[in-house]
């Protein structure tokens, strides 16, 4: 196998890994957005900031708005336009009762899921796992 083939194969593997990471982030993002709204109503940029402060889930800011829209359409959020002091209106989102229940259930599932998976991957990363403990 030539060096070019090896390099191509490695690139493909890295690309697969990137895709997996993107899917993982996207899967968590919905829960994270709901969690970011748990303290109270907020608008897009502040939700993104909250996500950036507590996680590195947001790779591209444009992915958050479609999620907010979808969650609203699913009845998990409500939204309203509010005039801001900066002169332009902002769209504020807040959790509905259903949204709060869904976020809580998601958080419970997340804890169960991660604790199980963490136990499973322990042999792969013994040193890091010691630090986590």
């Amino acid at each position: 196998m030539s060096a070019e083939d090896l390099s191509g194969s490695r690139n493909r593997r890295e690309s697969d890994l990137d895709r997996w990471e993107v899917q993982l982030r996207k899967g968590c993002l919905e829960m994270a957005v709901l969690a970011a709204l748990a303290p109270g109503r907020n608008y897009g940029l502040e939700i993104i900031r909250a996500l950036e402060r507590h996680s590195d889930l947001v790779l591209s800011e444009g992915t958050v708005y479609p999620i907010l829209n979808r969650l609203r359409d699913d009845g998990l959020l409500t939204s309203s336009w509010v005039e801001s002091e900066t002169g332009h209106p902002r769209k504020y989102y807040s959790l509905t009762r259903l949204g709060y229940e869904r976020a809580t259930r998601m958080a419970e599932l997340w804890v169960q899921f991660t604790s199980g998976v963490t136990a499973l991957i322990r042999p792969l990363l013994p040193e890091q796992m010691e630090k986590v403990r």
Partner: protein
Amino acid sequence: MIMTNDPLEMYIGRFQASLPSMTLAERQDIVDEIRSHVHDRVAAHGLSIPEVLERLGPPETVAGEYHRGNLVVGERFSLLVLLQIPFAAVVTVFHGMFLMVVAVYGYAGALACFGLLIARMLFPEQTMLWMTPDWHLGMGPDRPPDATVFLEKWLQPIAFAAGAALFSLTTLLLQRTWRSMKRWYRRATGPLGIPILSGARQAASNISKEFRDARSRLMRVPTRLHNS
């Protein structure tokens, strides 16, 4: 066709063209939110608009996320949506008229106050204010014997304060009305976002792109022939 070099408008144009079919109101809501995000990022972090747009991601990708979500609602088109367009157009026209009236009267009033301030310095006698016992107001040296002069020392500071206040208030009101007018204008020009037209625009854009690609391929053929 309107051409623009404004990076935000170019981004919004590409974004709108890639959005899935949805009602006009939903489309406008989504676009308004993206605009609001850009303005917030610029104001909060001092980033340039192209930097903010880069952080948002390519417009086609962002619009594509709406395709993949449950947001896509299909080709809905109601009479209410159609009625919104002329209503928004009328509101936009009223905003424009209001802008003109405020600009003319506001700035003319401020100018008059500053003019009075200067006139008072140059011609103190001619700008003397007086009032008769039967509440008749007047200005100038030809005042009736029973008239009382008032605001002698205070006319200049009052004229200055009134002029400055009028100027500031007019500017503030114009800024707010202008922003509001732009929002209504976007709603009035919403037909560009009607699903059918949007699809046609996308098709035209694709044809144009294919034509450009074909032309560039043709341009490369003689070069390759020449090289071989």
